[in-house]
């Protein structure tokens, strides 16, 4: 677990002062003080239970390894969020296998679907296994934990248009955010990146800009995604984006290969290319650290 990256996030306080958390894992003194009251959670993603090719012949074992590491954290996170592609082909057996491993988590699980979990635009199997708390009929939801507003969006239907949120969800999001003060930290989860990260490979959300317009007024927004099996960060105004490593296998950097399919690495290298993310969010914004499964 030697690959422990710390990615900085510039957050504006209500007084309009920018705090930059240093790269390389160095917190500023004020940031450390602020993090004491932070909401701490963990993100995992893209487990692809049922995948059995050379890139990772045992995806259940690597997911289990991530869960073991999370369960060993001395202070358990408020929750663990899985940002989608829990299964590879949405089959009952794959959902059952995923559930049996994920149920080992000590912390509560919140699991979003990826496009692999709703094949045929059918999200009943996902909903019957992993429906999120207080989910709307469309599956999306929001909640507040210790002054932080969390939103879980679904953008994996009608996938011909890449990711798509749709009018119903965007209308709900507008209502959901309407009464919140701009100083409230907002964290958004979705499977597919909400901005045009690499549309050539489907790494975008067709109507994502409409959601980002609704989020733009807040002082600090952190958007955490999966889908692309690697860590890529991006900033637009006060919105910071970070995609996550998978627990299954990595994918090529955007455009670095002829196709985005699974990358096959030597076994030791695989464990260094997959992992989980710890996140802390407070009034200064979001900070996160990525942990590989191998050293």
């Amino acid at each position: 677990m030697n690959r422990s990256r710390f990615v900085e996030h510039v957050a504006w306080t209500g007084a309009g002062i920018a705090y930059t958390l240093g790269a390389g894992g160095l917190f500023t003194g004020r940031a450390v003080a602020a993090s004491a009251s932070a909401v701490n959670f963990v993100q995992i993603s893209d487990s692809h239970i049922g995948f059995h090719q050379a890139a990772n012949p045992d995806v259940l074992a690597t997911l289990d390894r991530a869960i073991t590491a999370i369960n060993a954290m001395p202070e358990q996170p408020a929750f663990v969020v899985h940002t989608g592609d829990i299964t590879h082909l949405s089959t009952p057996q794959q959902f059952s296998d995923a559930k049996s491993v994920l149920s080992k988590l000590r912390a509560p699980l919140i699991a979003l679907p990826g496009e692999h979990d709703v094949l045929g635009n059918d999200f009943k199997p996902y909903m019957s296994n992993f429906r999120m708390p207080q989910a709307q009929p469309g599956g999306w939801t929001s909640w507040e934990t210790d002054g932080v507003h969390f939103v879980a969006l679904l953008n994996v239907f009608n996938f011909e248009k890449m990711g798509l949120l749709g009018t119903d969800q965007l209308d709900w999001l507008a209502r959901d955010l309407a009464g919140l003060p701009k100083s409230m930290p907002v964290v958004v989860f979705a499977h597919v990146p909400l901005y045009a990260l690499f549309p050539e490979w489907g790494w975008t959300t067709d109507d994502g800009s409409k959601a980002l317009a609704l989020l733009a007024r807040f002082d600090s927004v952190t958007v955490l995604n999966g889908h692309i099996h690697q860590i890529i960060t991006h900033t637009e105004g006060n919105i910071t984006f970070a995609t996550a490593d998978a627990t299954a296998y990595p994918q090529p950097k955007p455009g670095a290969a002829p196709k985005p399919g699974p990358l096959t690495l030597p076994p030791d290298d695989l464990l260094r290319a997959i992992g989980y993310r710890t996140v802390a969010v407070d009034g200064y914004g979001g900070r996160y650290e990525d942990h590989a499964l191998g050293s």
Binding site: H88, G120, F159, E160, W201, P258, K259, P260, G261
Partner: protein, 106 residues
């Protein structure tokens, strides 16, 4: 021996017909190959996933959908009505293909 040659000559066309594989589309390197396939109405097309990732064969107009095809899996569909059928992979929307179905004259 003369009769044997004659028998082989008569059988040859039938044997050639029997050996002709059905029209096929392969999924290789996140692409449908061939990207466009023209067949007669009533033809069954076999789609085979030769990739190391899952794919689907999903009609843009919703008339057919293979659902998830694991690596090595095949799925077939019979195209009965003439027309142009566009399809894509639900998991990789940049993968697009077309089946052109021609009318068969009686």
């Amino acid at each position: 021996m003369k009769h044997l040659y004659l028998a082989l000559a008569l059988l040859a066309p039938a044997m050639a017909g029997a050996a002709t594989p059905p029209p096929a589309v392969r999924m290789v390197d996140d692409a449908f190959s061939p990207a466009t396939l023209t067949v007669d109405a009533g033809t069954t097309v076999v789609f085979t996933n030769r990739d190391d990732d899952a794919h689907t064969v999903t009609a843009v107009d919703g008339t057919f959908d293979s659902k998830g095809l694991d690596s090595g899996a095949s799925w077939s569909h019979t195209f009965t009505k003439p027309g142009t059928y566009r399809y894509f992979c639900e998991l990789h929307p940049f993968m697009k293909g077309t089946i052109v179905v021609k009318a068969v004259r009686a």
